[in-house]
């Protein structure tokens, strides 16, 4: 035991030293940036474009002279939708490649898998996807939505007269931490709103599930008991067979609307959306949003996809919410580094709070001074026949993230700030 501890400590010390000294030794050389997204496996459908958009942002920054006169150098790895592999690759990025920051992960299970690595090695992770909250780490910046910036407004909309006045709810998800936690929050929220337990049906399918016949038939049956809405937290490529089945079985949005939290323009690329018109998605950005920043963003992406010959996007460029979040994250990190005048993790973390950026979604996105989350506007969109979303509801302005949802017991005592943040190394 003693010996193991000794080895651990030595490895830790050596690697810490390596990171520290690396910072000085490379002051003139390029700054290394880790990109940790699945490029194969069930999540590749969603994550591959995040790698591409991160590389695009790096190219842009380099074209304008880099950060503090130093070029950015991406290090791309493929964790292959394999959760333990995420942790291995993260460790490799931090200890071998000595990257200053990592942009990565989609599923919460992958984030949970790398979190101990980032905390142990004091790395810095930018996580660009909406998630279930219930986490605050000083080593992570969450540029996607917390539940109060996506799930809760979506459910409120479906309850309203405008959204159809749903009385019964099917909470359908992939079986892992994000859908389970989100549904726990939603269940508490619905019950607080007066919905009966018997009017809520929770269903889960494994990752990569492809046979949604029974589920869709069950939804139909459940819907016979009153006005029903489906909240889908299905993740990854299972969405394609799910939406195909919805279309084939003729479950129309006017009867049973399905609102999805992990389905955007990219996931619907391979699906015939004509039978799906009217189904919803809640996000903080849609490609169809009209704003000068978005016009510029989509144009840049189209040009980049063409230049880099990105499969699919070179003919039909699509942008989506996590792409926007990844893009914002990269620029905010750049601003924070320039403010801190160093890539040192603790100093960059300290400089991140209060950073602003003109987001493609048409608002000025602000990094909360304390809780490591972005203030975001919420949009609810309906699927159109062309695979785009039409915004049918939005918040008046940016909403502050509440990572500790008030609908989970005990969260009222938790601090809205990660622990150990004030420690300044060196």
């Amino acid at each position: 035991m003693k010996r193991r501890n000794f080895i651990k400590a030595t490895v830790l010390a050596v690697s810490m030293a390596a990171i520290g000294s690396g910072g000085y030794a490379q002051d003139k050389g390029p700054i290394k940036i880790g990109v940790l997204h699945s490029l194969s496996g069930t999540m590749a459908i969603s994550e591959t474009v995040l790698k591409d958009v991160t590389l695009m942002a790096i190219d842009e920054i380099n074209a304008k002279g880099g950060v503090m006169g130093r070029k950015l150098e991406p290090v791309v790895v493929d964790p292959a939708s394999n959760w333990p592999l995420f942790a291995e690759k993260a460790r490799q990025l931090l200890t071998q490649d000595k990257v200053s920051v990592v942009f990565g992960c989609w599923t919460s299970v992958s984030r949970k898998s790398v979190l101990p690595v980032f905390e142990e090695l004091n790395g810095l992770l930018f996580y660009p996807v909406q998630y279930e909250g219930e986490e605050l780490s000083k080593n992570v910046f969450y540029t996607g939505a917390a539940p109060n910036q996506q799930a809760i407004p979506a459910v409120e909309y479906l309850m309203s007269k405008e959204g159809g006045g749903a009385k019964r709810w099917v909470l359908l998800g992939t079986d892992y931490v994000y859908p389970r936690t989100t549904n726990k929050i939603l269940r508490a929220f619905l019950i607080k709103k007066g919905v009966k337990e018997s009017d809520i049906d929770e269903k889960y399918t494994p990752f990569g599930h492809s046979d949604y016949q029974t589920i869709v038939a069950d939804v139909k049956k459940f819907a016979a008991g009153g006005k029903t809405a489906v909240v889908s937290t299905i993740n990854g490529d299972s969405n394609v067979p799910f939406y195909k089945e919805l279309g084939n079985q003729g479950l129309k949005a006017t009867d049973v609307p399905v609102v999805a939290f992990s389905v955007g323009e990219e996931e619907l690329r391979g699906v015939d959306t004509k039978p799906l018109v009217g189904h919803l998605a809640a996000w903080n950005y849609f490609m169809s949003i009209k704003s000068p920043a978005n016009t510029e963003f989509t144009k840049k992406w189209a040009a980049y996809a063409k230049a880099k010959n990105i499969a699919g996007h070179k003919d039909k460029p699509l942008t989506n919410d996590p792409m926007e979040a990844a893009y914002i994250g990269m620029y905010m990190w750049k601003q924070a580094v320039e403010k801190a005048k160093t890539t040192d993790v603790d100093k960059v973390i300290a400089a991140m709070g209060g950073q602003t950026f003109t987001a493609p979604s048409g608002i000025t996105s602000t990094m909360d001074p304390k809780n490591h989350h972005l203030h975001k506007a919420v949009f609810i969109g309906e699927v159109q026949a062309n695979g785009q979303f039409n915004v049918v509801w939005k918040t008046k302005g940016p909403v502050k993230a509440v990572p500790w949802s008030p609908f989970i017991a005990g969260n009222d005592k938790k601090k809205d700030e990660p622990q150990g943040k004030t420690v300044i190394a060196k």
Binding site: L39, S40, T48, G208, D211, Q213, A217, N248, G250, G312
Partner: protein, 529 residues
Amino acid sequence: MRTLLIALWLFASGAHALEAAIVEKLAFGESDEQVAAIAALVAAGDEKAAAVLQALAEGELQTAGKSVLIVKGEEATDAVTGAKVAPLPAEREDVIANNRLRRELAGALAGLKLISPQREIRLAAAKELAGGADAAMLPLVKKALEKETDAELKSMLGQIAAAMELKDGSKEARIAAIRMLGGSNNPNTKMLLLSVLEKGKDGSFAEPDEEVRRDAQASLRAVEGRLAWGERLGILFTSISLGSILLLAALGLAITYGLMGVINMAHGELIMVGAYTTYAVQNLFRAHAPGAFDWYLACAVPAAFVVPAAVGMLLERSVIRWLYGRPLETLLATWGISLVLIQTVRTIFGAQNVQVENPGFMSGGIEILVGVVLPWSRIVIVLFAAAVLTGIWLLLTRTRLGLFVRGVTQNRAMASCVGVPTPRVDTWAFGLGCGIAGLAGCALSQIGNVGPDLGQSYIVDSFMVVVLGGVGQLAGTVYAALGLGFANKLLEAWQGAVLAKIAVLVFIIMFIQKRPQGLFALKGRAVEG
């Protein structure tokens, strides 16, 4: 208000110009105003109003500056005056309907169509209204009911009217309405009857009369009984559908593993090769013969057989041949081959999933009962599985190659003695098994995702089916596939997809413990060493 407007429409006639204010409200207003505008247009009731509503429903209504246009392809007409607008204004914006508006539109259009001279249009409209009609439509429905001569439509309209009268109307009218509803098999009726039986917060019933409630109870039972049958039919079909997919995936393995005894871990990857072949054929059609795109499967099916069969024969000649009778080495070698195949496909086609589009005839479904829809893609796959099964059966029992394969399987030494070229038969049989795996891939590409990892998710299922069915028996494979399909779907309906998968796996392990030879076993077979 709306009732009044619709009543007005019933008496209104002739073609008067649409009011510009209403159309503008429909195009530029908030959704409450838009809903009011729809009601007003229904009240206007002439063809122009119907055209505007139809255009909005189909996304053809656009605005250019202050004017509202109906744009069909390159031609535009002014929505208010009906005059042609040329040339098309460059700056146009779609008027977009949200769910609430679409629901209102569907109801309004159905109401307008109820008095169409064509039976199909009336039937479609009645079906639309049966899904939940606004009470304001009642006079419209009654009017249509009086005029209706068709028996089927008459009963449908009767039910629609009954549903609307359920809440108000005299006691006799309510009872009549409830009895009428008892003959329905629409899930919405159940919802309606339940609302009659509902208790308010203070414990009083929504329906004050005891007798009416008793009738509602009886009608509810009748409707629920019929709905339950629909549900059972649905489960039956989904079970057969899942069973047919398992069967397709396992049939190839039933030959390579079941008959030949090769533990082929690369079986899943041969399925994947079949799916990618389908994808490649689809791309060729899209590029060179877009007009015949709907028929690409006619070429994809043979190609999805030939390519994996060729790959399989190559594998057999180069690797597997040297490992017969050494199951452990075969297992490791074929597993290695599977990794090589995955990486090859990843290099050629990329790591991301590729999209295989269904031909037109395979999208949508057929509604056998209200609420029970059988998707065409699933029906086609069930038939395809049956055809493949028949093909294999004929091949094994009616051809010379089949005779040789059976001979070699049962007693290799004896077959060799009487002059059967056993090595060549092995190659052909292995190719056949791989080709069938490819056909499975072609079928799977139509309903699931096609990616380099496709095979991994089917290899376990395939082995489960073959082992459960009994090694060396085609009939066993068929029973096992259908049986697993049923078990999975029944459990899924009861306990959810995740638990169903676990339960089926546990069941198979227990079963194999008890009966290692599977459901069916060849008796007295000389097992080769």
